[in-house]
Amino acid sequence: MARPRTFDEVAVVESAAELFARRGFDAVSIDDLVGHLGVHRHSLYRTFGSKRGLYLRALRAVRKQNSSAIAAADDPLRILCAAVVSEGIGGLDLLLMAAIEQGAADPEIAAEVTGAFAELDAVTAALGDGTMSTATLLGLRLRARAGDDVARLADEFTGRTQTDR
């Protein structure tokens, strides 16, 4: 009998998501995952099948987390705005990294990413054109990652059009 699982799968997927969001898929080695997640190599393979298997799990977990946070919120735009200006690494970053790094080469990952973007569009539709609004907010997220202070812009973008309505 194989040794039973002795780790918290949800927590492991969450830390993997953060690592992938920070560095991307290719730059994270199994050595990195074993070191950061505190899971034995063989357990990692037994549980997730492969690095890509774990990556897909992380991507799907982030998407599910996003949509339940959106569903539960009184003001989902405010949550989205907070994610855009956040100093930490979050779900949006994983989506952006996945879109850039894996999107063209991996249809399964591309489907997750475009699905997640469509869910964001449904929220940002409150600002007018959902797709364009999501694009603006994701663009602001990129600027934030590059070190720009985008807080005022993000507030204005989500606030101003709201008062116009």
């Binding site: 040794r3 080695s29 199994i30 074993v34 190599r41 099948g49 690095k51 298997g53």
Partner: protein, 117 residues
């Protein structure tokens, strides 16, 4: 070194040249339905390998054959760890295969695509 290919609904792993001897196995055929994924993993060579039976283990030269670890059977055929690929299986004699291939990224892409989940 191993050659990995897909033949219909099977994954075929063929040991090349003398590796047949060291690994005591020339060919493995696994239904794709039992393949869970593949990963490029140069670091796995530094892991504990477990008990070898049967096969060959000359550290830093070749790791080949069947190894028992944590109640699992792992098949190894690796000389150059930079080209090591881990293929995870389910419901098979081996829990996973660790084999050296010529073009690790291509082999991993091919397997991951074939066993899409």
């Amino acid at each position: 070194m191993a050659e990995v290919s897909i033949d219909g609904t099977d994954l075929v792993v063929r040991m090349a040249g003398l590796d047949k001897l060291w690994a005591l196995k020339s060919r493995l055929v696994i239904p794709l339905a039992n393949v869970r994924g593949a990963t490029v993993d140069p670091g796995i060579i530094k892991e504990r390998k477990g008990i070898r039976a049967p096969g060959t283990h000359l550290p830093r030269v070749i790791t080949a054959g069947t190894f028992h670890i944590d109640g699992e059977r792992v098949f190894w055929d690796v000389r150059d760890p930079d080209k090591a690929v881990v293929i995870e299986l389910a419901d098979e004699r081996y829990a996973r295969l660790v084999v050296q291939v010529d073009n690790p990224a291509d082999v991993v892409g091919m397997i991951e695509k074939a066993c899409a989940r």
